[in-house]
Subunit: 370 residues, 2 copies
């Protein structure tokens, strides 16, 4: 299972795995794919630097990448305390009342409450890029489309290619015009930020729109070798996977407190997601839980724009996380969650993606030659 992408990135199989866990990312890279570490959780660039140092020591010299969240237009910026003043009282009251109704306790007194996830702020994302470029990374992906052109040039100056997510063909073309090297075609079924066009339609459309100018990675709905084969049949140069790595043993090594989240994923079916603006202010697919349902009730406030919505819900996420109640999880995940029926090891998943791909191709050959 090799495409030209394997040579470009120095990997064995064209499987890119996005994850906020360094243990998962390193395991994907060691297994022959490209682990891409999500940086948004690092408020502090030094913390990211330390974790990337760990990656350098734990990837057996195999390539890995990072994922930042950087709008091409700079949104509201400033210290969290100043930005928080822009949040209406109605929203704060709703969040407080909802947590009480859902039985989510306050954090114990004295808990060191983290600030909102500052990775959504442009300045913090820039610090992620700067720190990452001091490590031997092989890819910078931006989860919000094209990063600013000077960031693309900065990456290229270090010999690092840039990938950008696109939910429409015209966005993909714009990314490539801006100098982006790989397009990640993010279908409707994907977890996190996503558009309205499903992978089956979006992927060949983006492949045709960018032509020879950039390889396209398929994101959304890919959790098995059959789905990888479908994505490559549609013209993808590789697959971009995310949700499937949440239900791994390695994930718990980074975030041992995530057992409730994993329980919720394993219990969920493919209908148990919702596309909503409550996580970041932009439409993103999340696991459907009592928390997302509360925001869908009549009378719930409209979500705020990015980055205010995440600043609003970040303290709630801390409480939800500590509560460890599978019915009140707040977690981006795609419709592929229906396939997550047990906690597995990263190596097993990579092996199934590659092996299932081969089986699917053999079946297609039989159909072609019949």
């Amino acid at each position: 299972m090799r495409t030209a992408l394997c040579d470009t990135l120095g990997i064995d199989v064209p499987i890119i795995g996005f994850t906020p866990s360094e243990h998962v990312a390193a395991a994907i890279s060691r297994a022959g794919g490209l682990g891409v570490l999500g940086c948004v959780r690092f408020n502090d660039a030094e913390e990211l630097d330390k974790v990337l140092g760990w990656m350098d020591s734990n990837t057996d010299g195999k390539p890995y990448g990072v994922d930042v969240v950087m709008p091409s237009k700079i949104p509201a910026e400033g210290a969290p305390a100043d930005l928080t003043k822009l949040i209406p009282d109605e929203h704060k009251t709703f969040v407080e009342r909802t947590l009480t109704e859902l039985g989510v306790p306050e954090l114990p007194a004295g808990t060191d409450e983290r600030e909102g996830v500052l990775g959504w702020l442009h300045s913090v994302a820039r610090s992620h890029v700067e720190v990452a470029l001091e490590h031997p990374i092989r890819l910078i992906a931006n989860a919000l489309g094209s990063p600013p052109v000077d960031v693309i040039e900065q990456a290229h100056d270090h010999g690092v290619p840039v990938a950008a997510l696109a939910g429409k063909a015209e966005h993909a073309v714009r990314h490539v015009d801006n100098g982006v090297d790989f397009v990640v075609a993010q279908g409707y079924e994907a977890g996190g930020h996503t558009g309205e066009i499903a992978s089956m339609v979006l992927l060949p459309e983006i492949v045709d729109a960018v032509g020879d100018r950039a390889p396209v990675l398929a994101a959304g709905g890919i959790g098995s070798g059959r789905q990888a084969a479908a994505a490559l049949a549609l013209g993808a140069a590789g697959v971009w996977t995310g949700s499937i790595w949440l239900a791994t043993r390695e994930y718990l090594e980074t975030m041992p407190e995530s057992e409730a989240m994993q329980q919720a994923l394993v219990a969920a079916g493919s209908s148990d997601t919702v596309r909503t603006r409550i996580y970041t202010g932009k439409p993103a697919r999340l696991l459907k839980t009592r928390w997302t349902e509360a925001w869908a009730q009549p009378g719930a406030p409209e979500p705020l724009p990015m980055p205010l919505q995440n600043l609003l819900v970040a303290p709630a996420h801390n409480r939800i996380h500590a509560a460890a109640d599978p019915s009140v999880v707040s977690m981006p995940v795609g419709q592929i969650v229906g396939r997550l029926t047990e906690i597995r090891g990263v190596t097993d998943i990579v092996a199934e993606l590659a092996g299932g791909f081969r089986t699917a191709v053999d079946r297609l050959v039989a159909i072609k030659d019949a």
Copy 2:
């Protein structure tokens, strides 16, 4: 390009084409696929009988099927005049005012105004089945899931297999439990009635859920050979296509007044559809036009339940059709509409589906063997 389905249905390629046009259906069958004639437009069973007689004379002895719309639970039933009394004045006023605002003229005086599309009524759908079983049909498909069990038995008594649409794995299993022979997995991206799970996720889920009990046809997002290859990679036994046949020359032979609709389809991109209840009362994907946008405005009434909503909008559809304004079309179509960039012949489309399938498989083999 052959699967076991080809032997079961007596066809050359596992391509099923649903269409309300007998000219298109016959051309699909002559080209080696299975043309499936939509019956919902026939208010009068005798008219259907005549058209199926034409099919018998124009399919060169090749197999064809029919598609009816039959809920398993019998909804409101009765003469259109009685049912129309159940429609609130607010809805009638909204439709009238909207048509005026959109510049859709009244029908010329003396026009023989058709009644609502009665095919949505259970009694009329039953008459379609009875008439169809007097012809050498090879498939009855039901666009609303399992038909009533006695209808399935009636078809089986005539040696005719039954197909049913499913948007969730649990529905597919229920259909097979009811005796349905083929499941049509209808992804989110499909035109007409559709659920929320995209084909990339839904299709393998349904394939696994029904196992060896029934072949699964992939519906939603399929308009090219690459997409057919993706669907077969995901485990489908064949593809169920609909939208792509709307932009054919043969369609105009049945409905020469459809040029404005075809212009609108050719101009539309994959983002130009909307999933709404305004066509039938159940969520269905339509071309996004000034008509669908009017129903999405604040203050527009909520659509009525099936079959009342279609009775409400049927006279509006007649006026819209006569107006022949591409910006006010009311037409079910899938996200694949973005691929419809010209009016083609049916034979060309079948040839591209089969040829593109082969090309995609060759590419996959190269990736596998690299």
